[in-house]
């Protein structure tokens, strides 16, 4: 894997996540849609560390801002914070443990939801109904918890596949370190 391959791969995954979220998952009713972007971000950040988390978080948030039509910065800030938090917990979280991805995804989903609400309130962009926000956050957390491990496996599988395509190249496992 070339030094730029991993960032490109992760960007591709985020981009795909955004596209899938917008085109498919946004149609799912009752807030049952998973946040694939967050799941990719968590997987990459926990395994990659703080810089990976920060850069991917900012990118993921920016893409989400772009795609969703919200004022730029709302999701950028929220996902950036999520990415930094996940990356800084790299040494504390072992994503290979069976339940860790699910628990991390559930907690991160709720916190991200609350953080987004706080950003919206602080900036005065809209009124937030906290109970509704918590309810939809809890549902999304449950769905994300179910999908966390498959998405983590997907991210790792994609990285392995990318590595096999460049066997002679050194593996830059943590690109940004």
């Amino acid at each position: 894997m070339t030094p730029m391959a991993r960032p490109l791969l992760l960007f591709g995954l985020l981009f795909t996540g955004i596209a899938v979220d917008g085109a498919w998952l946004s149609r799912v009713l009752w807030g049952l849609a998973p946040d694939l972007v967050l799941l990719v971000l968590l997987s990459a950040a926990v395994r990659g560390g703080l810089p990976t988390g920060a850069l991917l978080g900012a990118t993921a948030g920016y893409l989400r801002d772009l795609a969703s039509g919200t004022p730029l910065g709302v999701y950028t800030f929220a996902y950036l914070v999520a990415g930094i938090a996940a990356g800084s917990m790299m040494t504390m979280l072992d994503f290979d443990q069976r339940r860790v991805p699910a628990a991390t995804a559930a907690v991160a989903t709720v916190l991200l939801s609350l953080l987004t609400g706080v950003v919206v309130v602080v900036t005065g962009l809209a009124t937030v109904h906290w109970l509704e926000l918590l309810w939809s956050g809890a549902i999304a957390a449950a769905v994300n918890a179910v999908l966390a491990r498959p998405v983590d496996a997907l991210v790792r599988g994609a990285e392995r596949a990318a590595r096999r395509r460049h066997p002679a190249k050194p593996i830059a496992y943590r690109v940004f370190r």
Binding site: V20, L72, T76, V81, I84, T123
Partner: protein, 271 residues
């Protein structure tokens, strides 16, 4: 470690700055050249995915519609079949009701005790004309009781068992019924020939017999009450040198399609 924190801080600051700039004029959302380029790529990707999902949804709807339509089709076919059977049953019932109503009228007009009977069998030989009805001696039927339908005379009871009776039709070669021509009151005897028509014998050559003339029972033989329609004259048979003239009479009752009859238990003129 400092570098990482610095990177994170820098990104946070950039995000906050972006947010601040955008929040000041949220209605003027400026995505910039990078954002525009990303959206330019993202748009078609999302459109493609949406089309795929729409196609899948359409296919799924089609699939479910086919299943639903198949079930509905089966149900409708069953309904059609059931309703067809019901219509046939109701038609049958209506026709039976009409026949029975006519019989009832006839019974009322005839007077006396009449026993309604259902035809349950028929002699299939080409020489004899006998039907089997579901009434017998237990119901009060006796040998030689006249049997009629709504249109007129059918025959007489030939054999009686406790629960069934055999009826000799007027077309049977063994049958002879004393009759008169309704208009001229000319008397004669109608004898069966084993065919659909019966022969009217012993008519005086001096009297004119008209085609279409109605033949009714005379009541003279003691077996049949007076005035029951027997049939209508369809042709005349005049043989040279014969003392009497004859005629062929079409029975008033369609004897091939009898389903219900009345047995006139107290209808004999000798009672």
């Amino acid at each position: 470690m400092r570098g990482r924190i610095a990177l994170a801080g820098l990104l946070l600051a950039a995000a906050l700055m972006l947010l601040t700039l955008q929040v000041r004029q949220p209605e003027r959302r400026a995505v910039g050249p990078v954002g525009a380029a990303l959206l330019a790529v993202l748009g078609p990707a999302q459109t493609g995915l949406a089309r795929v999902s729409d196609s899948v949804a359409r296919l799924w709807r089609l699939y479910t519609d086919i299943g639903r339509l198949r079930i509905e089709n089966t149900r409708l076919r069953e309904d059609v079949e059931r309703l067809g059977q019901e219509i046939a049953r109701l038609r049958e019932q209506a026709q039976a009701t009409q026949r029975l109503e006519r019989l009832l009228d006839f019974r009322t007009a005839t007077g006396g005790r009449a026993i309604g009977a259902r035809v349950i069998g028929r002699d299939t030989s080409q020489w004899f004309a006998v039907i089997l009805v579901d009434r017998g001696s237990r119901d009060g039927v006796r040998r030689n009781d006249p049997v009629v339908a709504a249109e007129g005379l059918v025959g007489r009871v030939l054999t009686v068992s406790p629960t069934t009776s055999q009826v000799l039709l007027i077309t049977d070669v063994r049958s002879a019924v004393g009759v008169v021509l309704q208009q001229s009151r000319e008397a004669g005897v109608v004898e069966g020939q084993g065919h659909a028509v019966v022969r009217l014998k012993y008519l005086s050559r001096a009297r004119d017999v008209t085609i279409g003339g109605v033949v009714i029972t005379s009541g003279l033989t003691g077996l049949f009450p007076r005035g029951l329609p027997v049939g209508t004259v369809v042709s005349l048979v005049r043989e040279q040198g014969a003392i009497y003239q004859e005629a062929l009479v079409a029975p008033a009752v369609n004897l091939d399609h009898l389903e219900e009859v009345l047995i006139l238990a107290e209808g004999r003129s000798d009672r």
